[in-house]
Amino acid sequence: MKIQISHGRVINPATGDDAVQDVFIAAGKIVGLGLQPAGFTPNRIIDARHKIVMPGLVDLAARLREPGYEYLAKLESEMFAATVGGVTSLSCPPDTDPPLDEPGLVEMLKHRAKGRNQTNVYPLGALTQQLQGTRLTEMGELREAGCVAFSQANAPLMDTQVLSRALDYAATFGFAVWLQPLDPHLARGGVAHDGEVATRLGLPPIPACAETIALSTILHLVRHTQAHVHLCRLSSAAGLELVRAAKQEGLPVTCDISINQLHLTEHDIGFFNPHCHLIPPLRSLRDRDALRAGLAEGIVDALVSDHSPVNAETKQVPFEAAEPGATGLELLLPLALQWARESGIALPQALSRITADPARILGIPAGQITLGSPADVCIFNPAQEWVVTPQSLKSQGKNTPFLNLPLQGKVSHTIVGGFLIYEDARA
């Protein structure tokens, strides 16, 4: 399949290149930029006039819910949602049922995902068996089965000796460990930021120090073990400052935030909107603004969807009983664009946070449009407005705090490994 993408504004965030030029794809690679390679005759020409051509999105946090939670979402629905969102590589946390703690489970997931010829799926292996935080998994075997890194997902790892050993063991082989900093004791029973809104609504609180205490523990252990740690879903300004200091010190850490924390605050809970029941919780305006600045600055390396489809019924209960989580694969691009617009950030820099930067964290050769790079491409219409509704979302999860919000920017084409896997003629 040879594809020519013509007349599009091509943005390669890794280099900052931003120019109207044609892109030529053959045998799964980018074979030409601007100049048509000799002897190239396209099977398909995509007219990208007035559109933006960028590397396919790389999402570091998308729950596909398989194996085990097929009643929430299926590989089929969620991988389709990824293509609709222009996401061509994603990593999924190990909190499936059973958790991804055995090579066979990972191989099966990789196999089933590959069989769909869609988005590239990079599973995270469980750091401990059953995610119980006591015994290490066979990280070497899991790596060979296809795990890119190791994680506890949202499961607590209370025993710091186990955590220290897990980091040491992972560092032995150069494996990265992904950790979501949240002290399980301080977060126990909590559902909202420990601030004015939780006080007003009488919601059990989660203080920001639940994040900073866990972060401090992790950072001390990183210093001790020199393991590479990726810190998932920061939520507080104080947490961000700890990461900034760690990076200045030269510790091998990276971090991400989700689209929810990028745009929302505790006040979005309004009158108990269950879609705003998220872990980590939505915090204060000051926290959100610090995270936005941190993402622009690069202290926050990546923006993720934190895609977590849940059943509608599990949100139709009182706020604190609602299942936390929000769907997000289809919102990552438009919400990154909205952040760039609102903050006056140049597109190459903004798009880097959902392409080249997360690809660097995953250690995969994705997230760029250069000669010879894999032909994972997203083409979108930056002017097209659409409204987030249960009907417009392809994910099985319709749960999102952004429901009924108008967004700008719609994917028209998604190309993975040189194959056009999604096309929306109306975009």
């Binding site: 601030g195 006080t199 007003r200 609504l201 009488g202 919601l203 979005d268 139709q316 604190e320």
Partner: protein
């Protein structure tokens, strides 16, 4: 953010879910309507026909004696048919969801739900779900709100103090876990009480509570100085011994209302408590049964206030005529 879900577009009360966001006029109207109902209890036939033919469902997902009973009496004095459901014991244990329970009862032509639930936001959830024309009264949701309790407290304060505009009111105890305290704070500030204080140890005072317009005191003697009204909160048994408080004895020592501590308040200060009381934990019997205590009056006024809320929701805006 959605608008205030308990008011119609015209500003009429369609549900009573929380005091927060209700205009002062609405609160005063409820209190005035309650005053007009006080005489009903003195009549030989303690009934007015305002809710005749209406079905009021007392939907209690959490046990309660006083609140449920006073709602029942209030509804019956308005001539409504009252159905009491203790849901803990029935459908929830069979796995039926909250909203399914509500749908089933709505199908039995309910006109009004009086709801108590252990989780904050339950009443909002039900109010957003029911068909137009069905009214929801929050009889306590988690730590969030207990608006009729706050209204009967305001009624009691107005009865004894005549006006709100120059009062100092102290709320003492477990504010953190108290829906009563939250609703009282909103009611007091909305009614222009110039000084609302909360008193308790840091473990029982929620973060940023000052944002609600109150002053925080940890020393009870200081906090009670010159107040006109002392509102004691109930301390739940499960909070007495643990990481929130070391023991009930120590709690009583620092935050229990004794005659000596009460002497710091104005000589004519009134003492209130939403009940049920823990004598010897948050309040000394000498105070609970003393001259300044108006605790039993609160219970009596609770009936008239709940009648007023139901009558207003049912569309009877004029005072009772019988």
């Amino acid at each position: 953010m959605k608008g205030n879900p308990q008011l119609t577009a015209e500003g009429q009360l369609q549900h009573l879910l929380t005091i927060e966001g209700l205009p002062r006029g609405v609160l005063l109207h409820i209190l005035d309507t309650a005053a007009s109902f006080e005489h009903v209890a003195q009549q030989e036939i303690k009934k007015v026909p305002l809710l005749q033919g209406k079905s009021v469902f007392n939907l209690f997902f959490e046990s309660s004696t006083r609140t449920r009973t006073t709602f029942e009496i209030a509804a019956k004095r308005l001539s409504a048919d009252v159905i009491n459901l203790n849901v803990n014991a029935s459908s929830q244990s069979k796995g039926e969801t909250l909203l399914d329970t509500v749908d089933n009862l709505s199908a039995m032509q309910a006109d009004m739900f009086v709801v108590r639930h252990a989780e904050s936001g339950a009443a909002h959830l039900i109010a957003n779900h029911v068909a137009p024309g069905i009214h929801v009264i929050n009889a306590g949701d988690g730590r969030h709100a207990h608006p009729t309790q706050a209204l009967l407290d305001m009624y009691t304060i107005r009865h004894f103090k005549k006006s709100f505009e120059s009062l100092k009111v102290a709320i003492v105890g477990d504010v953190q876990h108290s829906r009563v305290a939250r609703s009282q704070i909103h009611a007091l500030t909305t009614l222009h009480v110039p000084e609302v204080r909360v008193i308790g140890p840091k473990t029982l005072i929620p973060r940023d509570v000052e944002q609600l317009g109150v002053q925080v005191f940890h020393d009870m003697a200081q906090g009670l100085r010159d107040v006109d009204v002392v509102i004691m909160l109930r301390l739940q048994n499960e909070r007495m011994n643990g990481a929130l408080l070391p023991s009930r004895d120590e709690y009583f020592k620092y935050y229990g209302l004794t005659p000596a501590k009460l002497a710091r308040a104005k000589p004519d200060a009134i003492v209130m408590h939403p009940g049920p009381m823990n004598r010897g934990v948050e309040i000394d019997s000498e105070v609970a049964d003393g001259m300044q205590s108006v605790i039993l009056k609160q219970v009596t006024f609770g009936i008239a206030v709940r009648m007023a809320v139901m009558a207003i929701l049912a569309g009877e805006r004029s005072s009772a005529t019988s």
